[in-house]
């Protein structure tokens, strides 16, 4: 028994300034069309919530169900920061695996303000996400800057290495009609863009975007009855939390756990997320044909490659430099163009990652097609100990 991705759909990423529901509905309809499933035949809909768009965003499942037309389908709504989409996928997958439904629709979309993400309204001194802005002025890029500088000190990465990540992802994004930024860039352009959070420049950091993504999931039996080929299986969804003591400073925290009394776990949080997915899917990093990793910054793509086991610690720059992570390389990373080309539409992003894995595994990625992929990995990390890894196979 397995769960199959029957269809995918997206609304192009951009800064459209329209209500998020429009993007979600467009993505949902595209996914249903792709799957050849009528909305009225969907048993279960999961909406990944957006917290920046009022009440309809908090009950995204119901919002999309009403916008598509009340059909009597069961629904769920969930929020898990950047992992919201993956968690929505997991809820649908679990219900299918339990035999409680056959076909499910998962939708995430967002409409975002310009500039830095800010804490959600009001004075809330008990909320670390509010406090980090109030006391320190620590934006999300500040944390990305800390990780990048740490990487430079520990592994010797350079500004030019970071810029090379952007150049690679911009090239891939230029081939993706759903991407927001479709212009190839040069290392010189990246290095000439304004500094935001030293050592990261504007073009090292992902933007905040509008966009929507959806997938139709079904039981393998349902897919076989319909004669779907190739079958893209959702082989793992890992949503593990960190293990105490978590020794890496994570958003939006002021400090790490202390490792003075108890030594840190074998795997830090990001590595633990990927490892859990490998275990669940029964594959290893050496089997990965392509990876979508959460490049909130260029430097983080390099960290993620190592955390996901695609190379030993400190060797991601070398792989990048050798062209191994470009389309056509040994293990293409972010062949969609990544967050560098999309910008972040939080609840849609992990679903968009699964859309890319599925498109690639179905050999439908056109000019950005990875050669004969068998195993796709998508990893992501959000605030407050939420993160996810998905593995899809064919």
């Amino acid at each position: 028994m397995s769960v199959v991705v029957l269809g995918t759909g997206m609304h192009p990423w951009g800064k459209w300034g329209r209500p998020f529901v429009e993007y979600g509905v467009a993505a949902a309809r595209a996914a249903l069309d792709d799957a050849g499933v009528a909305w009225t035949d969907v048993d279960f809909l999961v909406g990944a919530d957006t917290i920046r768009n009022g009440y309809p965003g908090f009950v995204a499942g119901a919002t999309y169900a009403q916008a598509l037309g009340w059909s009597g389908a069961r629904i769920a709504s969930c929020y898990a920061a950047c992992a919201s989409g993956a968690q929505a996928v997991d809820i649908a997958r679990t219900r299918i695996l339990a035999g409680l439904c056959e076909v499910a629709l998962v939708v995430g979309a967002d409409s975002t303000p310009k500039g830095f993400f800010t804490p959600v309204g009001g004075d809330r001194p008990d909320d670390p996400d509010w406090l980090r802005f109030r006391l320190l002025g620590a934006t999300n890029p500040a944390y990305f800057g800390l990780y990048a500088r740490r990487r430079m000190a520990v592994h010797g990465s350079t500004h030019a290495d970071f810029a090379a990540v952007k150049v690679k992802n911009a090239r891939a994004g230029s081939l993706n009609p759903m991407a927001r930024y479709r212009r190839p860039v040069t290392v010189e352009e990246v290095l000439a863009s304004p500094m935001v959070a030293d050592p990261l420049r504007l073009m090292d950091i992902c933007a905040t975007s509008d966009g929507g993504a959806a997938v139709v999931l079904a039981s393998e039996e349902y897919a076989r009855r319909r004669g779907t080929t190739p079958l893209v299986r959702l082989a793992a969804v890992a949503t593990v939390t960190p293990s105490f003591p978590s020794a890496v400073l994570e958003l939006p925290n002021f400090a790490t756990d202390s490792w003075a009394a108890v030594p840190p776990p074998e795997r830090p949080f990001r590595a633990a997320i990927a490892h859990a997915a490998y275990e669940e899917a029964g594959v290893g990093p050496e089997d990965v044909s392509l990876a979508e990793v959460y490049d909130l910054s260029t430097a983080l793509e390099l960290d993620w490659m190592e955390d996901a086991g695609l190379c030993p610690p400190g060797e991601a720059d070398k792989l990048l430099r050798g062209g191994e992570t470009a389309i056509g390389g040994r293990v293409p990373v972010n062949p969609s163009g990544g967050l560098a080309s999309f910008g972040e539409a939080v609840p849609a992003q992990a679903i968009a990652q699964l859309c890319e894995l599925t498109t690639q595994l179905r050999d439908r990625a056109g000019p950005r097609q990875v050669r004969r992929p068998r195993v796709g990995l998508a990893v992501n990390q959000g605030l407050f100990g939420h993160g996810s890894a998905l593995i899809a196979t064919r």
Partner: protein, 146 residues
């Protein structure tokens, strides 16, 4: 880390947050908590359960954390951070450092005073002080170790 005794000889000062740091006669100290059962320390101070799920301790006592540590990493904010941060005008980039406290096995983030990113290095020794936010209240800050 000594047992807690709150001391503040500058009553006119307003703290941007209560109970996270203290200004003692011998300098500024972060206030954390320590589990009476396993000795694990926390910052910010925590109440209720020890953060180690295998410990289960419920007695967390306030402690003063070590004043010094080494830079784990650092960055700055070249653009004024959004509200609720109150940015100074004219704006000067805020420098931030994550500092691994001596002997506590914990990394604590704070603004840095008197040093820019060009003067910082990973591994450099810093010590705790305090300074005002643009709208007045004091917050803990890192500075070059004396």
């Amino acid at each position: 880390m000594q047992p807690s005794k709150r001391l503040c000889d500058t009553p006119a000062m307003t703290f941007a947050i209560d109970g996270w740091f203290a200004i003692d006669h011998d300098g500024v100290r972060l206030l954390g908590t320590r589990c009476a059962d396993c000795g694990t320390v926390c910052f910010p101070p925590r109440h209720g359960l020890c953060p180690d799920p295998r410990c289960g301790g419920t007695e967390l006592h306030e402690v003063r954390l070590p004043r010094r540590g080494r830079v784990w990493s650092y960055t700055n904010a070249c653009y004024p951070p959004p509200a609720p941060y109150v940015a100074a005008e004219p704006y000067e980039p805020v420098t931030l450092a994550a500092v691994e406290l001596d002997e506590a096995g914990i990394v604590v983030l704070g603004q840095v005073t008197g040093l820019t990113v060009a003067e910082l290095e990973v591994g450099m020794e810093l010590e705790l002080t305090s300074g005002p936010l643009a709208d007045g209240p004091q917050v803990w800050m890192w500075r070059r170790a004396s």
